[in-house]
């Protein structure tokens, strides 16, 4: 019976969302504070009801209620409790419910925290958010209900895809969805502002905090997914330019542009139309991503099981929500107050250039992702676009972006002088050159062009950010949290660039055959293969190898790469063993048995500073959150 209550909760939530739209819009049109108050209550009830539905789904998983098709297809009795809970968002239906619940959570938070928004703008923002939520709730109810019953109840379920039975993958979707749906807030605000064709600076300040939070979540979610791919898929890559990965990168790129453009609009009241457009596009990209992942128009290693009605629904939703938003933009944007042209040498311009670069990256990634679809639609054949295209486009664009990041933190608002700027930046430039030189000497004679670029730009971004922070603290006599957060994020980006550069240029990847007792030398390490043994886990059988890792004759660690065969699944899963260090990883994946002498194939990798990629992303996210916290304290102080 419980599951029917879940459906009932979702139906109630949909009606409350409808009520929210009506109350908030009516309240805004007629400036009735009482109605807006009711709308706030409606927003909370939508959140609670959707949360109830989600809780019921988790209970169904914990109770092994295999009469539910969704539970039967994604859970099984022997699965550990932790994975039973996370299986709730392990596939399309449940993940959509999680997505909807988080969205309604953001709506409830927006309802509770109007900040300095005028009552009218706040109410209209809520109305748009109510509309966005309603779409998702109806999507679940009509095409993707996780509460669907089966006529025949199986004894046991099929179990969760073993790839997903992993701690990082428990966290990955919630973080990512928090980011995706959080972008709905600035989207809704943009529509509310466009409606009245007037965008005060306080509104941008308000939107910036919300956007930073969702950007931080998005960053964490993407990084976690990349980290998971690195240790779980067994090939040691961390980014594959797969359509689904691109689907998460697209909103991230636009959101990154948006947080910088919001800064300009907040501080200087310019670039208003551009900022509003970015706010629409950022959320549009999360919906486009959802469409690409869930509709089946593109093949991908991790697309959801697809069904054309779902694709049709998301497309309709996209047309209504984004189409209406862009139509409103095209109609209202010309009415926004005109501002004076920007001075070329100014922070405004630097941030605008950075925005343009990020949007060019977005367009390139979108083009590469959609190109197979485009050719297919024009009947010009089938192909797939892979890493060579994306790397060839994105890497060169990163160079001016990183250069501008250094300039952007120093350059003054309104207008700056090139002479003053170059005096400040000269030292950072010289020091970055020194870093390149040291790096080159270190890897001699293996110096490559991208090393110079990667190390130089990382040093440049990190040095300028640190120096700007110090400079700012000395001049104002205190450390401002928002700028600390921003500079931390810049340093994180520098770390990420360095990690990408070093691990891809100087990584070693070898597929080797080892018999027990044999050694393999890998840079400063020696790996010695000891034995292989069979074992059983909670819901899998495993073949585990023992290898000893020596450094200069001294034992560093024993590594245990595994191949697991999960019950009910045919594909073996590799569990790699990683000797992780800040400066390098030794990565061992167990391959196949090769002959009667007990030899096995191994994939052995040495990845210098690959941790920089995820640590950098972590710093970026922490930086974003610190900035929000600092802004919040400043507002409340």
């Amino acid at each position: 019976m419980l599951a029917e209550w879940g459906v009932f909760a979702l139906i109630c939530a949909s009606w409350m969302a409808l009520l929210l739209i009506g109350l908030a819009w009516w309240g805004a049109q007629h400036e009735q504070a009482a109605l807006i108050q009711l709308a706030v209550a409606a927003a909370w009830s939508v959140f609670l009801l959707t949360g109830l539905a989600f809780a019921i789904l988790i209970v169904a998983f914990l109770q092994d209620d295999f009469s539910l098709k969704y539970v039967a297809s994604h859970s099984s009795i022997p699965m550990p409790t932790m994975f039973k809970v996370s299986a709730a968002w392990g596939a399309h239906e449940g993940s959509l419910l999680l997505w909807a619940w988080m969205l309604t959570g953001w709506v409830a938070a927006v309802a509770a925290k109007p900040g300095k928004l005028s009552a009218q703008v706040h109410a209209r923002t809520l109305a748009v958010l109510g509309f966005v939520s309603l779409g998702f709730l109806l999507f679940i109810l009509f095409t993707s209900s996780p509460f669907e019953r089966m006529a025949q109840i199986p004894e046991d379920g099929l179990g969760l895809n073993p790839l997903l039975q992993d701690i990082a993958l428990i966290m990955h979707p919630p973080l990512l969805y928090m980011g995706y749906v959080g972008l709905a807030v600035s989207f809704a605000l943009a529509l509310a502002l466009l409606w009245q064709a007037h965008a005060p600076r306080e509104a941008f300040a308000w939107a910036r905090s919300w956007t930073l939070v969702s950007w931080a979540f998005l960053t964490l979610g993407i990084a976690l997914g990349s980290w998971w791919a690195y240790y779980e898929l067994g090939w040691g890559g961390w980014w594959f330019w797969d359509p689904v990965e691109n689907a998460s990168l697209l909103p991230w790129l636009v959101a990154t542009a948006l947080i910088h453009s919001l800064l300009v609009s907040e501080k200087r009241g310019v670039l208003v139309g551009w900022t509003l457009l970015l706010a629409i596009l950022a959320f549009a990209m999360s919906l486009v991503g959802a469409f690409l992942v869930r509709s089946g128009v593109l093949t991908s290693v991790h697309a959801f099981a697809t069904d054309p009605t779902r694709g049709t629904f998301i497309l309709l939703y996209l047309i209504v929500v984004i189409g209406a938003a862009l139509a409103l933009f095209s109609y209202q944007a010309p009415k926004l107050a005109k501002t004076k042209p920007l001075a070329f040498v100014s922070k405004e311009s630097a941030l605008l250039f950075n925005n343009v670069l990020l949007m060019v990256m977005t367009a390139s990634v979108l083009l590469g992702t959609l190109y197979p679809l485009l050719l297919d639609a024009l009947n010009l054949g089938k192909l797939s676009v892979g890493p060579p295209y994306f790397n060839a486009i994105i890497l060169p664009l990163t160079v001016p972006l990183a250069l501008l990041m250094g300039v952007g933190v120093f350059i003054r608002w309104r207008e700056d002088r090139v002479r003053r700027l170059s005096r400040v930046l000269l030292w950072a430039g010289l020091l970055s050159g020194l870093c390149v030189l040291m790096g080159a000497l270190w890897v001699l004679p293996d110096v490559e062009g991208w090393l110079v670029a990667g190390v130089g730009l990382s040093a440049w971004v990190a040095l300028t950010a640190s120096y700007a922070l110090w400079h700012h603290a000395r001049n104002s006599g205190r450390l401002s949290l928002p700028s600390f957060g921003a500079m931390l994020a810049h340093i994180g980006f520098a770390m990420l660039m360095l990690g990408v550069t070093l691990s891809s240029l100087y990584g070693v990847e070898k597929d080797v055959r080892l018999a027990p007792g044999e050694h393999y030398a890998l840079n400063q390490y020696q790996l010695s293969f000891v034995s292989v043994a069979q074992d059983a886990g909670a819901n899998y059988l495993t073949t585990q190898a023992r290898l000893r890792l020596y450094r200069g004759g001294e034992l560093v660690n024993e590594l245990h790469p595994e191949k697991r065969l999960y019950i009910g699944h045919k594909m073996p899963m590799s569990e790699v063993a990683i000797e992780a260090g800040l400066f390098h990883d030794v990565y061992v994946a167990l391959g196949e048995p090769l002959d009667d002498q007990g030899a096995w194939s191994f994939r052995i990798q040495y990845k210098p500073f690959i941790r920089g990629i995820w640590l950098g992303a972590l710093l970026m996210a922490i930086g974003g959150l610190i900035a929000v916290w600092g802004r919040y304290r400043r507002v409340s102080a």
Binding site: L277, L281, S295, G323, L326, A333, P334, L370, D376
Partner: protein, 178 residues
């Protein structure tokens, strides 16, 4: 029309692309073997130790049908192949018995009829790998020069046979005679 309408126009185009995309199936991929020399087809003739060499069939048009006794789709397409062979006795069908064993495969042919000139065993699926077989049944059309000219994935229905396979085979034959 102002500049601010450009994003909307771009969006309309994107939606158009997505709508077309929904009607396509990205998993339907043409064989990379198309118009390429057919991979070698060397294996044991079903149930014997006699070796078969696919090169024996150069200079004529032939069809390769991949099947297995465990495959229900094969059973449903089989009567159509048998009927086609009866109507066009000079149609050369070669069977590739994919991931199967000889005893049930021979029993299956005895029960449902054998339209094949020869059936080659591929118990481990190695030949299937060379031919890029994703699942059974699959059917290839090979021309007199030994090139793969067409490929049909999945069950051959009566309509598919009449409208696609037989016309393609006849066209290739006409091409050869010219």
């Amino acid at each position: 029309m102002t500049r601010s309408a450009w994003p909307f126009i771009g969006f309309v185009l994107l939606v158009l692309l997505f709508s077309i995309g929904l009607m396509l199936n990205p998993r339907e991929v043409p064989s990379p073997l198309l118009n390429q020399p057919a991979p070698s087809l060397q294996g044991n003739v079903l149930g014997s130790s006699e070796l078969f060499d696919g090169h024996a069939y150069t200079n004529q048009v032939w069809l390769l049908n991949v099947w297995a006794s465990w495959c229900s789709g094969c059973l449903s397409e089989h009567p159509h192949i048998v009927a086609a062979k009866q109507r066009y006795p000079d149609m050369t069908w070669i069977g590739l018995n994919y991931k199967d064993s000889a005893t049930p495969a021979q029993a299956w042919l005895a029960q449902h009829g054998n339209p094949y000139q020869t059936v080659i065993e591929d118990p481990s699926g190695r030949l299937g790998l060379d031919w890029g077989i994703l699942g059974v049944p699959e059917t290839f059309l090979i021309d007199a020069q030994g090139r793969v000219r067409a490929k049909w994935q999945g069950v051959i229905s009566e309509a598919r046979l009449q409208q696609e396979i037989i016309p393609a085979w006849q066209a290739l034959n006409a091409e050869t005679e010219r």
